[in-house]
Amino acid sequence: MKILVGIKRVVDYNVRIRVKPDGSGVDTDGVKMSINPFDEIALEEALRIKEAGKAEEVIVVSIGGDECQQQLRTGLAMGADRAIQIQTDQALQPLAAAKALLKIVQQEQPGLVLLGKQAIDDDNNQTGQMLAALWGRPQATFASQVVLEDGTATVTREVDAGLETIAVDLPAVVTSDLRLNEPRFVKLPEIMKAKRKPLDVQPLADLGIESGHQLSVTRHAPPAQRARGVMVESAAELVSELKNRGLL
């Protein structure tokens, strides 16, 4: 069985997100970029399934400009066998991303597609669900545990009420939640090995996908700044400050 894992290049979770002064988007100038953390967890899960002897090959796929090859190489260094870049300079919205991934699914015929539950840049949480629907296969989202047996995946899902366990027939789409696993550190020699692993580049247009948008973003704005606090010396002062502000 092959496992296909989607990884997206996003602004690192440690970086303070700053909106461009003209509101046209998020400032990524000189900003550290990483694999979306949920995708890293998805890849770790795929690698563990392979190491347990339940899959033969792990393929990482990313949609983006040539910069995202950096994240694909990291995925290869973690242990993926080969990589596919769907090349485009446009930022795709979930439906277009799902359609593009579907093309790769059709090419590769994986037994399992593992994605992050959402990307931390736009928090859409849609691509996995859309891909499953387009592909006509089951989905199990927000996975905190995945057990594969006899052509089914038993997946524990993190839902609002607690945990829910479902069984889905393979092939299926599973999206990972935070507690699924803790991704591994890359050993330095693996980086060298990753340089020699295959990385296939497929232009988005060649897949017959249009990057057109269904949604249009009108403006980006940072959250309102909190006003400066005042230190009060006594309870009496606190009361009078509150009264001044019409809060009492």
Partner: protein
């Protein structure tokens, strides 16, 4: 312990700063067949680099002819120099010292420059490994340096192995080039072990704290370079500010305080924040926002403190050796030139022998010699220093005298022996409110569950002797608020908030008892500087 996995290279470079990258690139330019790797503790090249930076471009011309046609992302030609003497409420324009004439230079972000160099080095065939710390030296049977040991990953705070544990590998090579920058932790060990500093003065340092701001439209004047001395420091303390105006409404500003200061009560962080509130500076910043901030020690000892730069199996280059020109506060061109010189030397023989002599005969050291007396001239205060600076500049450093340097940590006065000047500092309003708020802009990140990377040899000294004698100056000189004295049921204790550390190395330098040892944390941890 198990045998560590081994990788072999012809040359290992520790540190992807300008010195290390220039050395690695030039090695490949001279001999493509050499296997060269660069180890970098930051998660990405440039993320631990903090500089001014007004850069003299000639060394870059040598390394990368044609770079001016494809400049790095932040690169503004120097337009105008201003040099000011500040008092609390006023300022006076001073004539520009010739070292500060920046005509023909460029204002850049050194972090961005290094991030821009890295892919070019890779294109030349250099293997760069960001996110891995060179944690220790590997010695050969003869006691020579034989490579480095990469730090283990996934070790818990108590030293036990977590589920994610990965043992660091060893990298072996005939030559290791230490390009760790100012106060490199492996460089420090090697200088001690091979007594590389036995024939020179002690090294001296400063602490530079910097912020990158986006100011209100129209306030930045791209290419303007402003330096100041005087307030908020007293006349006995060497230091000053820089303000470099960039494009896109950005301004880089910072303050350097020499670490030979005497006043144990001084906080260099606070001095910088005070400077920002000077009536001539504050209007520039009001209405703007901080984009990024951080701190880094600067090496100031120059010519008389330059250690021997070779030892069996290894070389020191750049600020790890101490080639920065202090009166100019420029070390980048020196680092690049020194790195290229090391490459030229190694391309001939893959042996460290003979490098030190070549360096001392090179323009790198000639430049240091010329200005050698300027910085120590300030040991007697601001006016004496300015006087020496004029004399030494006029004579081009040819007077047959060399003033000496003293170890910074010995200069701190005990509380009882020193009455601090009346600092008369102002109430602050500009961000950041405090050091914690500042660390936020450094985006520093350390996995909490890992061994504390600030090794304090004897915390009993902190609680008793240091409290009495110096009032725990670590709680003030650390720009990130890492050290705190806390009181709980068990009494007064030193608390080390290691996760906040920005790797500036000040504590390792200034601690008066020399019991703090900065070691590399898990690779990839530390600040994530953006364009500093």
């Amino acid at each position: 312990m198990s045998e560590r996995e081994v990788m072999e290279y012809d040359v290992i470079v520790v540190g992807a700063g300008p010195a290390g990258l220039a050395c690695a690139m030039h090695l490949k330019q001279l001999n493509e067949a050499l296997n060269v790797c660069v180890i970098e503790k930051a998660a990405e090249v440039g993320a631990h680099i903090l500089s001014g930076a007004v850069i003299e471009p000639q060394a870059l011309d040598d390394l990368l002819p044609g770079w001016r046609d494809h400049p790095p992302p932040i690169c503004v030609p120097a337009e105008k120099d201003e040099f000011w003497l500040l008092s609390k409420t006023g300022r006076k324009r001073l004539p520009n010292p010739p070292q500060m004439n920046n005509h023909g230079n460029f204002i850049m972000s050194l972090g961005a420059l290094c991030a821009w160099l890295a892919p070019q080095a890779e294109a030349l065939g250099v293997d760069i490994f960001p996110g891995y710390a060179a944690a220790d030296i590997r010695y050969t049977d003869t006691g020579a340096v034989g490579g480095v040991i990469i730090g283990d990953m996934g070790v818990a705070k108590d030293g036990s192995r977590k589920a994610t544990y990965v043992e660091g590998i060893e990298i072996h090579a005939p030559v290791t080039v230490l390009a760790e920058g100012c106060r490199g932790h492996l460089s420090k060990r090697l200088i001690q072990r091979f007594e590389l500093d036995k024939d020179c003065d002690p090294q001296t340092y400063g602490i530079g704290i910097k912020e990158l701001w986006r100011v209100e439209t129209g306030k930045a004047r791209p290419g303007l370079i402003q330096h100041s001395i005087g307030w908020p420091l007293d006349r006995q303390t060497y230091g000053g500010s820089f303000i470099y105006h960039l494009d896109k409404d950005r301004v880089a500003l910072g303050f350097i305080t020499a670490l030979d200061y005497r006043d144990a009560r001084l906080s260099p962080f606070e001095a910088f924040q005070q400077f920002k509130h000077h009536p001539s500076i504050r209007p520039l910043l009001e209405g703007g926002e901080i984009l990024s901030s951080g701190a880094r020690a600067v090496v100031e000892g120059g010519y008389q403190s330059l250690p021997k730069t070779e030892m069996p199996g290894a070389l020191l280059i750049g600020d790890a050796a101490g080639t920065l020109n202090v009166p100019k506060i420029k070390g980048t061109h020196q680092a690049v030139r020194g790195g290229m010189l090391a490459a030229a030397h190694l391309a001939q023989s893959l042996s460290s022998e003979g490098f030190d002599r070549k360096l001392r005969r090179s323009p790198v050291v000639a430049e240091l010699k010329k200005v050698r007396n300027i910085r120590p001239g300030f040991n007697k205060g601001l006016w004496a220093g300015l006087r020496t600076a004029v004399i030494e500049t006029v004579t081009g450093g040819r007077l047959p005298r060399t003033l000496s340097n003293h170890a910074d940590h010995r200069m701190l006065k005990k509380l009882d022996d020193y009455s601090p000047p009346d600092r008369d500092w102002v109430e602050r309003e500009l961000p950041p409110r405090d050091r914690l708020a500042s660390v936020y802009f450094a985006a520093t990140d350390h996995e909490e569950d890992q061994p504390v990377h600030l090794k304090v040899a004897d915390t009993d000294i902190c609680i008793s002797q240091c409290t009495e004698e110096y009032g725990n100056p670590c709680t003030r000189f650390c720009p990130a608020g890492v050290y705190e004295m806390v009181e709980d049921q068990s009494g007064r204790n030193l608390q080390i908030n290691a996760a906040n550390c920005v790797h500036c190395k000040t504590c390792d330098i200034k601690d008066p008892y020399q019991i703090i040892d900065w070691v590399t944390p898990e690779g990839g941890s530390g600040p994530n500087y953006q364009n500093l």
